[in-house]
Amino acid sequence: MTVKSLPLLTPNDFSSASEVRWCPSCGDYSILSQLKKVLAVLGVPRERFVFIAGPGCAGRLPYYLNTFGFQGNAGRAPALATGVKLSNRQLQVWVVMGDGDALSVGTNHLVHALRRNVELKILLINNETLGFSKGQASPTSRAGTLTKSTPAGSFSTPLRPLSLALAAEATFVARTIDVDVNHMSEVLEKAAAHRGSAFVEIYQNCKVFNDGVFEYATDAEIKADTVIYLEHGRPLLFGKDRNQGLRLNGFEPEAVTLGHGITMDDILIHDERAEEPTLAFLLSRLIGPQFPECLGVFRNVQRPTFHQLLDESFRQGSEPRPLQALLNGDESWVAA
């Protein structure tokens, strides 16, 4: 798909005429601007990008990008996007969903798009609240979250989006955060390069309804102790002095400090290419304050894509019959 002689695109080429209207300080501004930067360097002609979204704050994003865009009903974006990709496999199809959109209304479609391994880049912009509906609890709201729909605090167990994506057999699973722009670009570029369904959770701060919910991962003072940046083939270390790490005790993960008999040999090594998603799943379940949370690529494996399998299944069995032969059927007769 990459054409070397393309005119170089700049982030500005991806700005649409629409006035961007998110709340001041919304994390979506950062996501939009990183996306424009990444799209410009992918070597894909602008008209081949398609952005599919639902309604909601995240769903406005396609309107702010000067690519082809289609905004459907809440939750259905993965199904719409799969249809787009089936119509023309030359297109690079991105899906932008919020947590209410993807995990309340559209969980079913999301799971099936991932398991089919259609070449979609799915961005889950997670702010742990239904922002566009004016701030009710979302399926990812932490226990105890006070909202209009949970005045005594949210008590349903929150979904962990990456655990769900892994259970749905996703081949690329990553997490990044709105304020860490370099990390976000890096993750988005890797997602764009992935052949298959790529799922990226982006922690996003909703200034109005759920402000500060990811502060532990953004506050320069503490984030070294609360975040592990995943690097393939490297030990899972964290802390200002990088003297803390993760080890396994039986099936249980433990956060430990090096020394006192604990050595680097005890620390888990990250392997995003592991055939089985066991380690990725374990990492996807780590949440604070007991554990640092992971940012980066959890899983990045190759499995035949939906289109590859579709082509393969088409080649199997007998050759397609000419349409006229199908019209005639097997039992036709001729009246003279």
């Binding site: 289609f70 259905r76 249809g83 007769w333």
Partner: protein
């Protein structure tokens, strides 16, 4: 069946022993209906197919309807395990398998119990007397052997020991007992050929072709079928045989086709006629699932098939494909259509060409999945939130599925709109004789607005296909500015868009055929139908005419918008009768949209109309001219 292991003592052919001989008499008919019924293991579908082929070779128009058992695997000999195949063969065009039977072949008591109610008084009843042991009779709920208790006196009963006759016929062929029993169907079929004055030759040829690696089976099956035919000739049964002359069929290639297969072929032909890729996305739901099966089986490069996770996903997949520049198709039924309601709104709002095929079944909710109804009409016309008009068409006979899909696609790409095609479970499984079209003779379908940036004369918006440089644009379910597609909630803009979307659909009436009347151009009574009732209405009006009661009839294929002349046509008659398989939905639409008072004939039993039911209504209306 149990009787195979413990064969009862062969009984004599009862009709032959008790009544005078008159086997030479043949009655000429314009059309006749036969039904083969038996247990799931009795090869009923094979018998039906071979009888159909023979009748086709004879030169008749045919309507056929397989009736599979209600359960996937039912216990042998029970009512739940009865399977049947009904065939109408005629000198004239027929659209269905007929309603009342001239001949019933019942291979066990349960089959008799299940189908006897459909046999005309005086009709021919063939029963395998070997299968009517007390045990088998009990399974069907008969306290007494119905062949013996005089309860069948109203019919021409022929009850030979078919099981035993078959064993005798193949006794000299060396094969297993199981293979012997497999030949029983050929004996019954031979008898049916004699009764209906059909040639055995096409079926014998089928046997030779099918078992070409198994000469023993060829010999056994051939002997069995001939024995059945000769039993008819020699038993001296007092039944009157039937004869239906060949029809005056125009030259050409013909086949039997059921409603679902015709729809599926229509989808393939539409991709060919538009030279566009197509995506068919569907969740398998009875009775629409066959479309998914067929399109997978007939794999064609132009049509990508995907099994969706649910019906709502299916329409979103189709819609995504339409956004991407392909024809989007889905097929659904029952609650699946309810699920698709949300996506239909998006399809109307985003003005993308896609086709929803709704093979209606009896509802609401899960309803009766295997039973037919026309009760989704109001849902198709109005079942969306917001002011949300779209085009609705109805398939009126099995083979019409092919043409109606082409019509749906023609309108979808001309007006950039979703189109709902209403079929139903009855059309889905009924097959009729179809003159196979030549692919090269199909008119090509042009996309109306592929180059402009604004609406064309038909109010169709441009189809801005991703991949086209310089036409990057956003589309969606939110109200938007007509020219730019950008979100716009301005009050005047919304009103303008609501009107524009409605006007576009209303103006599609310019591109559809006027409503045609068969019979008097004005007068006392018009029978107006839509969808699968065409066959029953036509037979009813024709039967009345033969008796001297003359009514006109017309049939709607376009339900939204309706043909321009609909109101004018209806007002030419003093009364309008609207038979439909729902609680009167079209009748209420005609009243509210056209302000025309109509008489509703509603039926909601999960079964199609019998022509006689419509005839009775026509007769009573024509006698009571005062009301």
């Amino acid at each position: 069946m149990a009787t195979h292991e413990h064969p009862p003592i062969a009984k004599p052919t009862r009709a032959a022993s008790s009544q005078p001989k008159s086997s030479g008499v043949v009655r000429n008919l314009d059309a006749a209906t036969i039904c083969f019924a038996g247990d799931a293991g009795d090869a009923i579908q094979l018998m039906g197919t071979l009888f159909t082929n023979s009748s086709a070779q004879h030169g008749n128009y045919l309507g056929t309807e397989p009736d599979p058992p209600a359960e996937i695997r039912a216990p042998t000999g029970t009512l739940a395990g009865v399977t049947a195949y009904q065939i109408q063969f005629a000198k004239h065009v027929v659209h269905d398998a007929g309603d009342l039977l001239d001949v019933l072949i019942a291979l066990n008591p349960s089959a008799l119990k299940h189908y006897l109610g459909r046999l005309k008084p005086g009709g021919i009843l063939v029963a395998d007397s070997d299968a009517f042991s007390p045990f088998e009779c009990q399974k069907a709920g008969y306290a007494e052997d119905p062949l013996e208790d005089g309860s069948l006196a109203a019919y021409g009963l022929l009850a030979p020991p078919i099981t035993q006759l078959n064993r005798d016929a193949v006794s000299r062929v060396k094969h297993s007992a199981r293979e012997t029993e497999r030949c029983k169907c050929f004996l019954a079929l031979g008898l049916a050929f004699w009764l209906c004055d059909r040639s055995m030759e096409p079926a014998l040829r089928w046997i030779r072709d099918t078992y070409d690696k198994n000469p023993v089976m060829i010999e056994a099956a051939t002997r069995s079928m001939k024995a059945g035919y000769h039993h008819g000739e020699t038993c001296g049964a007092p039944v009157t045989r039937l004869h239906v002359d060949k029809a005056a069929i125009p030259a050409g290639r013909y086949r039997q086709i059921d409603g679902n297969d015709a729809l599926a072929l229509g989808i393939l032909a539409a991709a060919e006629a538009t030279k566009l890729p197509a995506v068919f996305a569907s969740f398998p739901v009875t009775p629409a699932g066959q479309l998914l099966h067929r399109l997978c089986e007939w794999k064609q490069p132009a049509v990508t098939v995907i099994q969706a996770e649910d019906d709502l996903a299916a329409l979103n997949l189709a819609l995504g494909a339409a956004f991407g520049g392909a024809l989007g198709f889905t097929a659904t039924s029952g609650p699946g259509l309810s699920l698709q309601t949300e996506a239909l709104g998006l399809a109307v709002m985003s003005e993308l060409p896609c086709v929803v095929i709704d093979v209606q079944r009896a509802g609401p909710s899960v309803g009766m999945p295997s039973k037919s109804e026309q009760s989704d009409l109001l849902h198709a016309l109005y079942g969306r939130h917001g002011d949300c008009p779209l085009i609705v068409l109805a398939q009126s006979s099995p083979s019409d599925g092919f043409a109606i899909v082409l019509e749906a696609v023609r309108l979808a790409v001309r007006y950039m709109t979703p189109v709902i095609v209403l079929s139903d479970g009855h059309l889905a499984k009924t097959a009729e004789t179809w003159q196979v079209p030549d692919l090269h003779s199909l008119p090509s379908i042009e996309r109306a607005n592929s180059t402009q940036n604004s609406r064309d004369a038909n109010l169709a918006p441009p189809w801005l296909v991703p991949g086209t440089s310089g036409r990057e644009r956003r589309l969606g379910g939110q109200e938007h500015d007509d020219a730019t597609g950008e979100i716009d909630f301005d009050p005047a803009n919304h009103e303008h868009m609501v009107r524009t979307r409605a006007l576009k659909i209303a103006q599609a009436a310019n591109a559809i055929a006027p409503l045609e009347v068969v019979g008097p151009a004005s007068g006392e009574l018009l029978v107006l139908g839509w969808g699968s009732t065409l066959g029953a209405i036509r037979d009813a009006v024709e039967n009345c005419r033969r008796r001297g009661t003359v009514a006109a009839r017309a049939h709607l294929r376009h339900l939204s918008p309706m043909p321009r002349n609909t109101e004018e046509v209806l007002k030419r008659y003093r009364r309008v009768l609207v038979p439909e398989l729902n609680a009167g939905q079209l009748a209420s639409v005609l009243r509210s949209r056209l302000g025309v008072e109509v008489i509703s004939l509603a039926k909601t039993q999960g079964r199609p109309f019998l022509a006689s039911e419509i005839e009775a209504k026509i007769e009573s209306l024509m006698q009571d001219k005062t009301s």
